[in-house]
Amino acid sequence: MYALSSFIAGLIFGLGLLVSRMANPAKVLGFLDLAGAWDPSLAFVMIGAVAIGAVAFAMARRRASGWLGTPITLPATRTIDGRLVGGSLLFGIGWGLAGFCPGPALVALGAGIGKALVFVAAMLAGMLVFELLERFGPSSGREEARWHL
């Protein structure tokens, strides 16, 4: 049941990316190109998503556990540190280079786009590099990166 509910959530998320046209990197790059012919659509996707999301998080705050009985776990970390900002800057550079972030890339992969497969493979390699650096790198043994969204 838990996995089925998760599958449906992933499916709906992917359909939302398709309906909003955000699975298309050209559309995302149109938003990021402020100095060119700017396409503000992505901002409207955020408005729609946050409007529903804010209601969901307000409801979640009043509950200890979800409909399926497991605890609702929200991130506890509040600090804005170098890891957060540096990582986000690297992510933003990669996002701006190809117009793909993780969700749209997985949806494009499902649509049979060969270039999405290349991006997803490289993304997984990048995540694996992070895991290896965390485990064996110079700063390993430090407190584990507490929360990941």
Binding site: F7, L15, A26, A54, M59, G110, K115, F130, L149
Partner: protein, 144 residues
């Protein structure tokens, strides 16, 4: 700044965004989890007991979405203009960056702003700024 009115799709944006919001709501209220895609995928590379199935299921749902969409309607265009070397570099940066930054567009921008997390808003400002700057450099300074 000039707005590209021919490309601008506010309605499909808001409606598609609301559908994304519903997916966030379902995973949060049913499963008690935050729909942060880089975290869900990244967690598969750090397996812990009983934590794999829902992650695989969520990713399978994302990948299945275009198949389901194509049953009822023609898929919208997906244009990937980046070259293969650019895609590899971009993928590596997105992979490493989202893990160090503890989130991507879904976890920090959609979920983080929805719950008014200052940390997520900071991360969103950082990756948005880097995205704007990267496109400016690539399209207008390097003239690619």
């Amino acid at each position: 700044m000039t707005i590209d009115w021919t490309a601008f799709t506010p309605w499909s944006g808001v409606i598609g965004g609301a559908i994304i919001g519903l997916a966030v709501a379902l995973l949060l209220l049913a499963n008690g989890r935050i729909a942060g895609i880089s975290g869900i995928v990244g967690g598969l590379l750090r397996p812990s007991t009983g934590d794999i199935a829902w992650r695989v299921a969520f990713v399978a749902g994302l990948v299945a979405a275009p198949v389901a969409y194509a049953i009822v309607a023609t898929l919208p265009p997906i244009n990937v203009e980046a070259s293969y070397p650019t895609l590899v570099l971009a993928g590596l940066l997105v992979g490493v960056g989202t893990r160090y930054g503890a989130g991507c567009t879904s976890g920090h921008a959609v979920c983080g702003i929805s719950r008014l997390s200052l940390r997520s808003i900071g991360a969103t400002l950082a990756f948005m700024a880097a995205g704007f700057l990267t496109v400016f450099v690539v399209s207008h300074l390097l003239g690619a």
